[in-house]
Amino acid sequence: MTGSLKFAAVGTVVAQRTFPALDREDLRRYAEASGDQNPLHLETAFARGAGFDDVIVHGMLGMALLGRLLDEAFPAQPLLHFRSRFRNVIPVGRAIVCKATLTASDGGVADLALAAATEGGPVAIEGSARLLVENIA
C-alpha cells in the first residue's frame, strides 16, 4: 500500500473496511481499558434517562476503528494529524463501515477524509487525517 497514497488520484477511496458490530461486553472492555466509565456506555437505565434507547458506543471506540483502518492500510506512513466529529451515535449491534478518501496530496503529505457509518445507517463519525507519505531522511 505504500505507493498507493503517493500516486492515488484525489477523490479515490484509499481504504475501506467493515468492522463487526460491537456488543455491551465490548463497551465494558473499552470502558475498563480506556478509563472512560461514563454510564452512558454501560448502563441501559442511565442511557434511557439521557434520552437514548440503549447504551451507545464510546465515540472514541469508533475513532479507534478509524485509527485501525489507517494503521492497517498505511503502516509505514506516520500519522501527523487525526480528527473526528461525532455526528450521530453508534448503537450496539450494528456493523460499522469505515472509509478513507484521498482529498489532497502534496509536499510529502496526504490528506484523507474519514467516515464511519453504521451499516445501512447514517454517518456517525466524520473525520480527517494527515499522513506523512515521504520520509525525508
Partner: protein, 142 residues
C-alpha cells in the same frame, strides 16, 4: 443552565502519566486488535485520549463547570502528533478550557478543552482538542 463563561481559561493542575505496557496491551485488545508494527511499546493513535483523561481529568473539568454528566456528549476530538512516545515514558499533561460557546439560543453549549502532552524533558509529544457538547434542553430523568 448556562455555563459561566468565566471558566474560559480554566486549567486543571498539571498531572503526569506513566505509559504502561500492560495498559497498552489491554487497550489494543479493547479496540479489537492493533498491529503496532510489531512493537508492543507503541500505542494506537487514540491512546492519547486515555492519557489526557487520566487522573479523572475530564470529569473534574465538568464538575468544576457544574455540568450534569447526563447532558454530555463527546462532539469532537483532534490529535496533532509531534513526537512518538512509548511504554515506559513519563508524560506531563496540561488541560485548559480554551472556549465555551452556544448554539440554538443556548439549547446546546460546547466546551473546548485544549491539552498539551509533553515528555518529562519538556519536548512536545502532542496537542489535542476535545469538544464536549452539553445538551441543555435534553429531557433527563433520574
Amino acid at each position: 443552565m448556562a455555563i459561566d463563561r468565566q471558566f474560559i481559561g480554566y486549567s486543571l493542575p498539571p498531572f503526569t502519566v506513566t505509559v504502561e505496557r500492560e495498559r497498552l496491551r489491554q487497550f489494543a485488545v479493547a479496540i479489537g486488535g492493533w498491529s503496532s508494527g510489531g512493537d508492543e511499546d507503541r500505542a494506537p493513535p487514540t491512546y492519547l485520549k486515555v492519557i489526557e483523561g487520566e487522573d479523572n481529568s475530564s470529569r473534574k473539568i465538568l464538575a468544576a463547570l457544574g455540568v450534569d454528566l447526563r447532558r454530555v456528549l463527546h462532539a469532537e476530538q483532534e490529535f496533532e502528533f509531534h513526537a512518538p512516545y512509548r511504554a515506559g515514558d513519563r508524560l506531563a499533561v496540561e488541560r485548559t478550557v480554551s472556549n465555551i460557546y452556544e448554539r440554538k439560543a443556548g439549547e446546546l453549549e460546547f466546551v473546548v478543552v485544549d491539552t498539551l502532552i509533553r515528555q518529562s524533558s519538556g519536548a512536545l509529544v502532542a496537542r489535542t482538542q476535545q469538544v464536549i457538547l452539553v445538551r441543555n434542553a435534553a429531557p433527563v430523568t433520574t
